[in-house]
């Protein structure tokens, strides 16, 4: 139910978006391909492509095949056209297994002409190779290796610099007539002076010890804390695109979050709700979406599911891992507590690739439970309890710890 509703909301959203685009751009030109493109992407692209069959036929160069009046009649109400007994219309309808195309009566003749102008001008070239390059660097995440090379380069530069300076010094000495000394001899003289000075030694030892202990403490404390963990995923799925740009609600896909303990990773069938129609992405084109089709067995050419296909599950890498001994319920937080997803997961709608935003340590949980106010509003469960708690604590602000949110057994059983 919920899925469907959201899907329709999405469709309506896309429709409205296109309408506004349409209203903004009232081109006076006959057959304006720019306006045509806007309408095409908003209205037609779900079912039609320019260069190949999708749910409907390829539209590239359609005016060469069909008469303009026919195109206008078909586009605005193809059912009527078919009812009138137009043979071409019936033929095309049957060729595509009777898939219904909605009537677009609100498109003016000029609009249709614009679209046709766009189809005649042709689509932009396929996603440029640059896009692929971006993908590989992002997915590969080579940035760490890069910094090591920089450090290494700097080190070599410094060594060379020291060598040059020593050479310069010795050359000067030669000129002056003094005996020369090698780099090692200079270093040992310096070390001897330093080692004889107890104060230097003590200070040095203290500084080193504090540094090491500090490092040790923080490295021990960070064992098992995977803050910032950003593994490579099998599909380059962009939350920024879906949740950010397209404003898809988190719980459209992660529908388990309000119901039970798990916020489920959506199954491919959920992806297919949209990607049955949206067959190309803005960045990776068909490449990543093909991975979904490979999992579920969907034929891009015919836009049909392949019968008897052996489905292959997608092996996502889990980012947020709580230890088994901690029982965490999403429903408790998302549904009962009305906590935003972003409170723990960070700005997912801005993340190209998701990483672990919070430390997910017990201290972090506890802190939040101490500070977060219980959402008692309009929840019958808390009605009586809230009055008693207010009286007991003498404050209107009831935080989670006051209703037992710090007790061991609430999370560990």
């Amino acid at each position: 139910m919920n899925k469907q509703r959201l899907f329709y909301q999405l469709l309506v959203g896309m429709f409205l978006m296109s309408m506004s685009l349409f209203a903004q751009d009232e081109s006076e030109l006959l057959g304006d391909p720019d306006n045509g493109k806007k309408i095409f992407t908003g209205q037609c692209a779900a079912c039609h492509k320019l260069d190949k069959k999708a749910i409907g036929p390829a539209l590239g160069g359609v005016a060469e095949r069909r008469d303009m009046d026919w195109i206008i009649a078909w586009t605005r109400n193809n059912a009527q056209l078919r009812a009138s007994g137009d043979k071409d219309a019936i033929a095309i309808f049957e060729e595509y297994n009777g898939s219904l195309m909605p009537a677009f009566e609100y498109l003016s003749e000029q609009d249709v002409k614009d679209i046709v102008a766009y189809t005649m001008a042709g689509a932009k070239p396929k996603p440029s190779p640059d896009d692929d390059k971006i993908t590989t660097t992002e997915v590969g995440g080579d940035s760490d290796d890069g910094s090591i090379w920089i450090i290494l380069g700097l080190a070599i530069f410094l060594i060379v610099l020291i060598a040059i300076l020593v050479k310069v010094k010795n050359t000067l000495k030669v000129i002056k007539g003094d005996p020369t000394s090698s780099l090692l001899e200079d270093a040992s003289v310096f070390t001897k002076v330093a080692v004889r000075n107890r104060k230097v030694i003590t200070l040095f030892t203290i500084v080193v010890a504090i540094f090491l202990l500090n490092q040790l403490y923080w490295s021990l404390m960070s064992i098992g804390v995977e803050e910032g963990y950003q593994p490579e995923q099998p599909i380059a799925f962009s939350h920024k695109l879906h949740a950010g740009d397209n404003q898809i609600d988190c719980q459209y896909c992660h529908y388990g979050a309000e119901k039970g303990k798990h916020s489920n990773i959506p199954s491919v069938s959920v992806c297919m709700n949209c990607h049955q129609y949206v067959q190309e992405g803005p960045k990776h084109g068909e490449k990543e979406i093909d991975k979904i089709y490979a999992a579920v067995g969907f034929d891009r050419e015919t836009s049909q599911y392949i019968e008897g296909y052996e489905k292959k599950p997608v092996k996502w890498v889990r980012i947020h891992n709580l230890p088994d001994l901690a029982y965490f319920s999403h429903a408790q937080h998302v549904n009962a507590g009305n906590i935003e997803c972003q409170t723990c997961h960070g700005p997912v709608e801005e993340m190209e690739e998701v990483y672990q935003y919070s430390p997910l340590t017990m201290g972090w949980c506890i802190n939040c439970h101490r500070e977060t106010e219980v959402d008692t509003k309009e929840n019958g469960y808390y009605e009586e309890m809230h009055e008693k708690l207010k009286a007991k604590h003498g404050t209107d602000k009831i935080t989670v710890d006051m209703i037992g949110g710090l007790e061991c057994g609430k999370c560990h059983y």
Partner: protein, 1022 residues
């Protein structure tokens, strides 16, 4: 004050008081055997120095730490296409039926992410909606990796095609030769399955269907046929029975398949309507333990007792009497008959055993009392027992004579379950085509040409009609795990019908007016207003002239019985059931010969306790005619009639798997002619001792007021007890400087706030608790409780979160001692003696969730702490295993993980629920599996509490009474265990807390538990 009767926990307590004292001061009596491994030769001869050891230790610690820094990559694999309505983390429930030919129940099965993990009672179902320990546990048998994974063809694993062909060939050959083709099954109550057999018999000539029950009621059914005109037991209505007399009928244990404890319990609530229950029996059964008055007689005397009652009622009602010898309890029979006469039409006399005469007399008595149509609904047939030994015997004769061409065995294992097992095994060789539908390579399957690997009930489709007009439906909750089939599908296929059984079944039910098949399988049951109408009124009187009551035997009689955990042994390879202590003897992992103390003394048989408390028993050889059973351990059983011994069937199996094989001895071998007792048994002592795994001497609470008990008369008429804590339920007062105070007032602690939010409490009614053990198994399944095995149980290291203590009574009381002027030393000594026929009480004890908990104060790391909702929390990962808490717990309910019971198949492989990848599918994903070295205990099913609260929050409402049910409460079909929030004034638990019977266990200690008990009331003359 309630009576101060002393209960003792076992014969060992009597014989070895020092041991008991030692035990009571030590929960874990065994020292860690440090000496053992430190003095071992190898460790001393080792040339590893202390310095080297420390180096290694340091290195390995550092290495382990470094290794732990690298987090493993965890994959998360969602469904490709998510099943409809499945939300990960949320359980789905399906209504289905459990039926293995012996146990029957309408159940709900709880599944998580497609895995069935627990059976729960279908409380909407009117008739078979309560489930016993075996049905509860049977979910584990689904994941038994020793189940047959493929069909077997001549002893070799095969595929279905060659097996189908081979069997079809065999059938054609048998048909051509004119030999018999026989379907041998346990009782089948499924209308559709019977249709399948009919279709099969139409496809081949000479097909017959023979039914045999392992625990036979064949003669009893014959007697029923004489009285009712139909060969079926009537439906017994315990709800209407104000006065129950049972002669050898263990109706609260296993009887004729009808589960009656819920009905029985409705009349056991103290009050004017409380029933009186008199039990006359040889073995101390579960039913006898729950009776108000119990008499011990030998089974051969049952006839004389029944005839005695019959004649007394006959003379009062003007009927003719039957000739019968006198019984040993004739003196008591007048009173029994009088009481029965007073409760005409509301009484119920039943009997056990498989003796035609006894059953006829029973029916005769009930007819004279006008019970037909009232407490005995003869219009409703019981289809759960249909076995006919005569047709089985003629089948056996035909098999021996080579007249049987093909034999199909359904849910039956005659080689194991019959006294003629060996004969049957030999005769099986003469059957050309023998097929066993079995899920195991068991005793019979082993000898068959083909084994058609069978489904578990959770993988099967079926319907059933256990009682006339009540239908229960079975639907699969999981795809078949292995290459198995259900027998109905096979028979259909072999008779040339290629439709699957699901379609066949639905076809059977479709097209009926007002019934949708989807609704039937959704609800799991269907009740039809249908009554069996016999043409003639039932009449037991005409058959009375043929009743011959035999003279009671003089020699020792062996009584066969089924244990609560094991039944007839269908589910033997179930470690939960094997480890479930028998409610009466509290012995697990065994069957044994129960014998009275007097007879044991006569025969020189003994029970003794080892230094660590473990129980040992003498070994004997049983002889009867040409049958011998060797190595039978002896357990001295109070309440056993002198001259009788008891032995449970269902043990001594072979070929069922690690947990079931070679546990105990097979008593079926001696169960001759289907009789439930045989006379003339010789008992010969063998050398050596048998080691029992008995939890009997565990957690002794001797000498204190643990179970509070009064008579019904006192309960009804004592004016002093107007409210809780007064009169007979008076609480101990402590002297203080100011005044006398009860323990909850006289304390140094500050109280927790239990006014705000929830305050979870549990009530246990000792009156309706029958001790059946269903709650113990439910707790196992719900909370992933480990099984430790026989050796560890002997070390008193059982892990049950919930135990059911059983206490016997003694004749000596403080009042009696005062009256007779017995000194206190003598009095306490005498209190240890059991009465000749002890009264028995059961007391389930789990963590009492004390509000002033002794365990919490002694934990050095605060791993066990109190919650605002009245629970005692246990954080496993915080626990460092000091065991201070267990030592300080007055109830001895904390359990320590001495070993790694999980993923340790070398040592604990017997428990495949935690040590086998398939078996682990049964685990409840909402409860942590504990590791070695931590303490665990009852959590009040906190996962269910949290779920109940969450559902309420999600819906924005308060938690309703009944939303949160612990696993034990849900499993309890008598409603003895109740759980809820006492801060909800509307709740049942709030009313129970102020009930005048309410008391806290060891209240004097001042622990203020959240669990309270309801005083036991016995309906007997004071």
């Amino acid at each position: 004050m309630a009576s101060d009767k002393t209960y003792w926990k076992g014969i060992g307590e009597l014989e070895n008081p020092e041991m008991v004292e030692k035990l009571s001061s030590n929960e874990f009596p065994d020292e860690i055997p440090v000496e053992d491994f430190l003095t071992q030769q190898e460790s001393q001869s080792s040339n590893t120095s202390r310095r080297d050891f420390l180096k290694f230790l340091g290195f390995s610690t550092a290495a382990a730490t470094l290794a732990a820094c690298e987090a493993p990559v965890i994959e998360s694999i969602p469904y490709v296409v998510a099943p409809d309505k499945l939300v990960p983390g949320i359980a789905s429930y399906y209504a289905t039926t459990f039926d293995d030919g012996y146990d029957f129940a309408s159940v709900l099965v709880k599944t998580r992410e497609g895995r069935p993990i627990k059976f729960e009672p279908n409380k909407d179902a009117k008739y078979a909606g309560s489930i016993n320990a075996r049905v509860q546990a049977s979910v584990l048998n689904l994941y038994d990796s020793t189940r047959l994974k493929d069909p077997v063809n001549n002893g070799e694993y095969s595929e279905w095609a060659p097996v189908d062909n081979g069997i079809k060939e065999g059938l054609e050959k048998a048909a051509a030769s004119g030999k018999r083709i026989v379907v041998l099954s346990s009782s089948i109550n499924s209308p559709s399955s019977k249709k399948v057999i009919k279709a099969f018999s139409e496809a081949y000539p000479n097909v017959s269907h023979v039914t045999v029950d392992a625990f036979s009621y064949s003669n009893a059914l014959d007697a029923s046929a004489e009285v009712f005109g139909v060969r079926a037991f009537p439906y017994f209505k315990f709800k209407k029975a104000a006065h129950i007399v049972s002669v050898g009928g263990d109706f609260l244990g296993d009887w004729i398949g009808q589960a009656v404890s819920a009905d029985y319990a409705t009349r056991r609530k103290p009050g004017k309507d409380m029933s009186r229950h008199i039990q006359i029996e040889a073995n101390l059964s579960l039913t006898g333990s729950n009776s108000d008055i119990r008499h011990r007689v030998k089974p051969s005397e049952y006839g004389a007792v029944l005839a005695g009652i019959y004649n007394r009622i006959a003379s009062a009602t003007g009927n003719s009497s039957v000739s019968a010898p006198k019984s040993s309890i004739d003196a008591q029979l007048d009173a029994i008959a009088n009481d029965l006469m007073e409760a005409k039409g509301q009484s119920l006399v039943i009997c056990g055993g498989n003796d035609r005469n006894n059953w006829l007399l029973t029916y005769g008595i009930n007819q004279m009392l006008g019970n037909f149509g009232k407490t005995i609904k003869h219009q409703k047939r019981n289809n759960l027992r249909q076995g006919n030994d005569k047709s089985f015997n003629s089948l056996l004769a035909d098999m021996e004579a080579g007249r049987v061409g093909a034999l199909f065995m359904v849910q039956t294992n005659p080689v194991y379950q019959s006294a003629q097992g060996q004969t049957f095994a030999k005769a099986l060789e003469k059957v050309d085509c023998s097929v066993s539908f079995s899920d195991k390579f068991d005793e019979t399957a082993n000898l068959c040409k083909f084994v058609a690997a069978a489904h578990h009930p959770l993988e099967s489709w079926n319907d059933s009609e256990p009682f006339t007009g009540y239908y229960s439906f079975m639907q699969p909750a999981i795809r078949p795990l292995f290459n198995t089939r259900q027998w109905q599908y096979c028979l259909l296929k072999w008779s040339g019908n290629d439709s699957d059984y699901q379609a066949f079944l639905k076809n059977n039910w479709s097209g009926r007016e007002g019934i949708s098949t989807d609704a039937l399988f959704h609800d799991g049951y269907y009740t039809e207003k249908k009554e069996y109408d016999s043409e003639t009124e039932p009449n037991a009187m005409t058959a009375m002239s043929s009743v011959k009551v035999a003279k009671p035997g003089e020699d020792t009689e062996l009584v066969f019985y089924t244990k609560t955990g094991m039944g007839i042994g269908n589910l033997s390879n179930n470690p939960w059931l094997q480890e479930l202590p028998d409610p009466i003897s509290r012995v697990s992992w065994d069957n044994y010969l129960t014998i009275s103390a007097a007879q044991a003394a006569d025969l020189g048989l003994k029970n003794k306790n080892r230094s660590n408390g473990a129980l040992d028993g003498s070994l004997v050889t049983l002889k009867h005619g040409d049958t011998t059973i060797e190595n039978v351990p002896v357990l001295i059983q109070p309440g056993q009639a002198y001259g009788t011994v008891g032995l449970a069937v269902g043990y001594g199996r072979n070929g069922v798997g690690k947990a079931g094989d070679n546990v105990g001895v097979n008593a079926f071998a001696m169960m001759k002619a289907g009789m439930h007792s045989i006379g003339g048994v010789k008992i010969e002592q063998q050398d050596g001792w048998h080691q029992f795994a008995c939890v009997q001497l565990h957690h002794t609470m001797m000498g204190r007021r643990i179970v509070q008990e009064i008579t019904l008369d006192k309960f009804l008429n004592d004016p002093s007890a107007t409210e809780n804590g007064k009169g007979w339920n008076e609480r101990t007062q402590f002297e203080t400087i100011g005044e006398k105070l009860t323990s909850d007032k006289a304390n140094l602690w500050s109280d927790f706030d239990h006014e705000t939010g929830h305050f979870w409490n549990m009530s246990i009614d000792l009156n309706t608790c029958t001790g059946c053990g269903a709650c113990v198994i439910a707790c196992h399944a719900e909370n992933n409780v480990p099984v430790v095995g026989k050796e560890e149980i002997r070390m008193s290291r059982d892990m049950h979160w919930l135990r059911i203590d059983r206490y016997y009574s003694s004749d000596m009381t403080k009042e009696k001692a005062a009256e007779e002027g017995v000194g206190s030393r003598k009095m306490y000594k005498a209190m240890e003696d059991p009465s000749a026929s002890p009264e028995v009480v059961f007391q389930p004890v789990m963590c009492q969730h004390c509000n002033h908990a002794p365990c919490e104060t002694v934990c050095p790391v605060a791993a066990t702490v109190h919650s605002t909702e009245g629970l005692n929390h246990m954080a496993y990962n915080r626990c460092i295993g000091t065991r201070y808490c267990a030592n300080n717990c007055p109830y001895k309910v904390r359990r320590f993980n001495w070993f790694l019971y999980t993923d340790n198949p070398d040592h604990f492989g017997v428990n495949y629920a935690l040590n086998d990848d398939l078996g682990k599918m049964v685990l409840n994903p909402d409860v942590t599996v504990r590791t070695r070295g931590v303490m665990e205990k009852c959590s009040f099913c906190i996962q269910r509490i949290q779920l109940g609260k969450l559902e309420a929050k999600k819906e924005g409402r308060k938690v309703k009474d009944g939303d949160v049910q612990t696993a034990c409460m849900q499993a309890c079909d008598t409603g003895a265990i109740q759980f809820g929030d006492v801060n909800d004034p509307e709740s049942k638990i709030a009313a129970l807390k102020s009930d005048k019977r309410m008391y806290h266990l060891l209240e004097d200690v001042g622990t203020q538990p959240s669990v309270f008990y309801q005083t036991k009331v016995r309906n007997k003359n004071a």
